[in-house]
């Protein structure tokens, strides 16, 4: 028994060492960025190894005031505009599609589902040449709503998660409402939607994060500096502007991280439990 105990302790020590090491690997680059954003001089060459010698909030104020070359506030505004619009449009479309695919057993349903599966096999930026050319022809280069259209139109392709959620909401509730004389639209708006709140929030988050952190499409379609999104803007920064990059990243990265961790709890609970008695 005593020997077993020793083995157990030895095993725990090794396990915890590995875990601590791994946690450091994941935490370190992020910590590095955060601390670097508070560097006083701003240049990466003035760092002592990984970390700046002196700290200040200089980079943050420079980010928002020194807009001659790099107009961060404008980029931020653009990103927010694109992400919010496509988040709402995309979520609406995705939820509606998922609801239909889950609730209506119409004739062409199976073939529609198969088609989306096959289309999903085309990786989305295999089409980037085509999208770029089409957008040039339609004169949607350098237009923000061109991006919004692409993001929100592509959103329903990923309806499967949401469909899975609707499948778990018992259909008996719908049927009960139908017997009471509700139309399908009333059932959808008054019963299904309120119950689908967790999945709606999940979808909103996903649809927001995607445009927020995408760089391929904006890089492709936005050619003027003032129209850039934050991702493209930060990419265009000069190599010496490290602190500015770090500050800009922290400023848009932190809200997303906070969103992730606050909503993570919220996404778990099951609303329809107790609504149907079997």
């Amino acid at each position: 028994m005593k020997r077993l105990n020793k083995v157990y302790i030895f095993d725990s020590i090794i396990t915890y060492t590995i875990i601590l090491f791994i946690s450091c690997i994941f935490l370190f680059p992020i910590l590095w960025l955060v601390i670097a954003s508070f560097s006083k001089t701003g240049s990466i060459y003035a760092f002592e190894g990984f970390f700046p010698k002196e700290l200040s909030t200089n980079s943050f104020s420079k980010l928002f005031t020194d807009t001659m070359l790099y107009n961060y506030p404008k980029w931020f505004e653009n990103t927010l505009y694109i992400a919010l619009l496509s988040c709402f449009l995309g979520t609406a479309l995705t939820i509606l599609t998922a609801y239909c695919m889950s609730r209506f057993k119409f004739k062409s349903r199976k073939s529609l589902m198969k088609t989306t599966l096959v289309l999903g096999m085309f990786p989305s930026f295999m089409m980037m040449t085509a999208v770029y050319l089409l957008m040039t022809q339609f004169d949607l280069i350098n237009k923000h709503w061109g991006l919004v259209l692409i993001y929100s139109a592509g959103a329903p392709m990923g309806y499967l998660t949401q469909k899975g959620f609707f499948d778990t909401i018992s259909i008996s509730i719908d049927e009960a409402a139908r017997i009471d004389g509700a139309t399908n639209m009333q059932v959808f708006i008054k019963i299904t939607l309120p119950m689908a709140l967790p999945i709606i929030i999940y979808t909103l988050l996903m649809q927001f994060v995607w445009p927020w952190s995408d760089f391929i499409l904006p890089k492709l379609l936005l050619k003027e500096k003032d129209l850039y999104t934050v991702a493209v803007g930060l990419m265009s920064l000069d190599e010496t502007e490290f602190s500015r990059f770090a500050a800009g990243s922290v400023f848009i990265g932190v809200p997303i991280i906070v969103l992730y961790f606050t909503l993570a709890k919220y996404l778990g609970y099951n609303v329809s439990s107790g609504a149907v008695k079997e």
């Binding site: 085309f122 089409m127 139109a153 592509g154 991702a231 990419m235 997303i256």
Partner: protein, 445 residues
């Protein structure tokens, strides 16, 4: 066998309509909406009639020439000297695709028109009143609610998803790009681009080198991410680990940070003035160009590990989920029979994981095969000797980007996308067919 059955199902209603339809159905077959009007269904009849007129007008004025232009891609060369406005081949190509789509739509409307009038005939023959137009519109919010809803997503996907795919596939068979961009005339050249890529001195060596590296990259990075993820999941699942949720938060941080930020941060970290090189120079060494032009394998290895850092959390979360659904009795039984930890892992856990995760493995393989971001950020914009518009870390997808967006070799780029698609779909099909999760579907149920 199955195909036959489906075929019969498709043509069954048409046969029935031809056999049983009366004169009014025939009227609708000739002029859309006429049958409905004869049944005194004014609203619907007029709607179909108007649609028919609109579509015929479209084809008389635009559609017919659009389809003809689709095949010729323009014949009039523009000439500034004589002030001749030439044909724009690319516009013609797009308009041609659109008019073909509208043609298919026309057929669908035509068919639904005949089906509708046949339904009416059946209702009237049973001495019932046919549905009123107002009620049919009301149905769109009730029984047929799905039609109302689905129309927008389907339209969106058609325009921004299917149209680009068709367009890309067609471009691959033209000579569009290089010097041949409008106002010059573009032509169909069949498989010319593919022949060029495989044989021409300019493209072929680059293509083969990149393809080889692309395979090495996809296989090694998928394997690395998969086993590291599985290892992490097993580690955090150990009984002696307390506060599992807290420890799992650290890897999840890596998902929460937008990908481009972490990639750019890593680029800074390995750059000449970056912290790692500073520490090396302080220790007396010379700065190393980790991502420099001659740093072939260092750059590749760094890419591999950076990609692992980015993707590992996802595969860890996934593996954790699968592990929690695994039947623990098997492990307990093995323990009683005296199997050690390694035996338990290699004979029970691993086969189960491989079984349950084959689809995910395939999608991760495809994702890594087309992993655009990694080398675009770490080492973007390098062109090397021996490569045509590419560097030795570039994947096919990066090369495709360089070719068609930076320089305008559109048709070559489109053919490369087609090749990528064919390769990835064949591989995923083969792996999926050969995988245990396809062959013995209920082994672990």
């Amino acid at each position: 066998m199955k195909g036959n059955k489906e075929k019969r199902n498709i043509f069954q209603p048409i046969k029935e309509i031809i056999k049983n339809g009366n004169a009014k159905v025939a009227c609708s077959a000739i002029i859309m909406g006429l049958g409905q009007l004869l049944y005194k269904k004014w609203g619907k009849g007029c709607l179909f009639l108007l649609l028919q007129i609109a579509l015929i007008c479209y084809y008389v004025f635009f559609g017919a020439s659009a389809i003809r232009n689709f095949f010729t891609l323009g014949t009039i060369q523009s000439n500034q000297w004589f002030g001749i406005q030439g044909d724009n081949s690319i516009i013609m190509l797009i308009m041609g695709i659109l008019s073909l789509i509208i043609f298919i739509l026309y057929f669908a409307i035509y068919y639904s028109n005949i089906k509708d009038v046949y339904q009416t005939q059946l209702t009237v023959e049973l001495n019932k009143k046919p549905k009123r137009f107002v009620n049919e519109i009301k149905d769109l919010l009730d029984v047929n609610f799905y039609k109302t809803i689905l129309i927008i997503p389907i339209l969106g996907v058609c325009v921004f998803y299917i149209l680009p795919i068709i367009f890309m596939v067609l471009i691959a068979f033209t000579n569009y790009g290089g010097d041949i961009v409008p106002p010059a005339l573009v032509d169909w050249i069949g498989f010319g681009n593919f022949v060029k890529i495989l044989t021409l001195g300019q493209f072929a060596p680059t293509f083969l080198k990149i393809l080889l590296w692309n395979f090495i990259w996809a296989i090694s990075s998928t394997a690395l991410n998969y086993f590291c993820g599985l290892g992490l999941a097993l580690l955090y699942n150990k009984k002696c680990v307390k506060m599992k949720a807290v420890w799992r938060m650290f890897p999840v941080l890596a998902i929460a940070v937008p990908g481009f930020i972490s990639l750019l941060a890593f680029k800074f970290m390995f750059s000449y003035g970056g912290p790692i090189n500073q520490m090396i120079t302080k220790g007396g060494g010379a700065a190393i160009g980790f991502l420099d032009i001659d740093a072939k394998w260092t750059a590749r290895t760094i890419g591999l590990f950076v990609n692992c850092w980015l993707c590992l959390p996802n595969s860890m979360l996934y593996a954790t989920g699968i592990l929690s659904s695994m039947n623990k009795d098997l492990l307990d039984a093995a323990k009683i029979d005296g199997a050690n930890a390694f035996k338990q892992f290699s004979n029970i856990t691993l086969p189960f994981m491989v079984f349950a995760t084959t689809p995910v493995l395939i999608s991760q393989f495809i994702f890594n095969f087309n992993n655009f971001g990694i080398f675009f950020f770490l080492r973007g914009g390098l062109y090397m000797d021996g490569y045509f518009l590419a560097s030795d870390t570039d994947l096919l997808i990066n090369w495709l980007y360089n070719l068609s967006i930076d320089k305008n070799h559109y048709s070559i780029g489109a053919s490369i996308s087609l090749i990528i698609f064919i390769i990835t779909s064949i591989i995923s099909l083969i792996v999926y067919m050969a995988s245990p999760s396809y062959r013995q579907e209920d082994t672990y149920k």
